[in-house]
Each structure stands twice: as structure tokens, then as C-alpha cells.
């Protein structure tokens, strides 16, 4: 029973990683590619870690699984945030014009030493 559950988790996680990569290949916009590459992989990796824990339910798997998921969810959105700011500042044109664009003062002060 636990093996079946772990198999479902592992298959779902790797399928989600594949979906994320297909999205990164097929999306029309750098912002959309950044979004799908940094958020979806965190979910797929979490599913893989959970499947890993269910396949071998012991203390080490639990501890390392919690740590891995914690680092996933703290570092991947951070990398996504920095990537999004870089994409915005490098003036990559979006596929459609922005509805709300509040970052223009930030672009105008680009040559200063920003934090």
C-alpha cells in the first residue's frame, strides 16, 4: 500500500517536472518561462521528496526530506524574484503589453547603484 502511494507520488512529481520543462520550452514570454520554471519545479520536487519518504519511512528520510522541502520553498522563489527583476530591467519585451507597469521609476534609476 505504501509502495503504491510512493509510486504515485514519484510519478506525479516527475510528470510535473516534465510539464514545467515543456512549459519552459513552449511559453511565449520570458516572464512566463521564468514563472513556470521556478514555481512548478518546486512542487514537482516536493512530490518527489514525499515519494522518497514514503518509499523508505525512517527518521533520516523524514529529517532530510523536511530540510530539502524547506530549502526548496525558501530558495526557489528567491531565485525567481531575482530573475524576474533582471528580466524586467533588461527590457525584454513581454508578449502582450503590461496592464499595470509600476516599475518605470526603477528603470529610470538604473544607472545608480541600486540595492
Amino acid at each position: 500500500m505504501l509502495t503504491i502511494l510512493a509510486s504515485i507520488f514519484v510519478l506525479f512529481g516527475s510528470f510535473f517536472c516534465l510539464l514545467s520543462a515543456i512549459g519552459c520550452l513552449r511559453m511565449s514570454d520570458t516572464f512566463a518561462r521564468m514563472h513556470v520554471a521556478t514555481k512548478a519545479v518546486a512542487f514537482g520536487g516536493t512530490m518527489l521528496v514525499l515519494g522518497n519518504f514514503l518509499a523508505r519511512p525512517d527518521m533520516a528520510s523524514l529529517l532530510f526530506g523536511i530540510l530539502i522541502i524547506g530549502f526548496f520553498y525558501t530558495t526557489l522563489p528567491l531565485a525567481g524574484h531575482v530573475l524576474g527583476r533582471t528580466i524586467y530591467r533588461s527590457a525584454t519585451p513581454p508578449a502582450k503589453p503590461f496592464v499595470v507597469d509600476e516599475g518605470e521609476p526603477m528603470l529610470r534609476t538604473r544607472t545608480t547603484n541600486h540595492p
Binding site: 510512493a6 516527475s14 516534465l18 520570458t30 520536487g45 533520516a60 530549502f71 531565485a79 533588461s90 538604473r110
Partner: protein
Amino acid sequence: MSNVSSNSVELLPAPVLWISAIMIGLAAACALIRILRGPGAPDRIVAVDLLASLVMAGLLISGLFTGNPFYLQITLGFAVILFLGTVALSRYLDRPDP
């Protein structure tokens, strides 16, 4: 390859692990195509970030293949330093013009 799967303890049924490994491989191929084809440097950084995350997924599946709990520790170490490369490359592109 047959040597690895013959004298090791697989934690899950072998077809499940093979299907997962093939899906991760296809995902890595998609990321590599995006690296080759990306119109600019930000696209390539996004694809490199995705590829590093896929390497971590592959490490987890390798741990399931061999049944070696050491792979979890390798994955944890990789997860700690994973985002540093992305942040460094982004900040390098983002630096102010001289």
C-alpha cells in the same frame, strides 16, 4: 546500467522508476533546447535554473534506484547551493552600466 539494477535494492517497482527517469530526461532535453534557442541571456539563465532543479530531481530518483540513503544528503547539499548560481548570474546581468 544492468549492473547497477542487478546488485542493488530498488525501493519502488522498476517500471515506475524507469518511467520517472525517462520523464526527467525528456524535461532536461527541453531545458537544453531552451538553452540553445533562448533569444537572450535571461532565457538562458531561466533554463539553466530549471536544469539545476531537474538535476536535483534526478538525484532523488537515483536514490530510489539504488536504495542508498546517502543520495538524500547529496540532494540537500545541492538544494542549499542551487540558487546561488542563479542569483549570481542574475546580478551579473543586472549590474549598473559603467
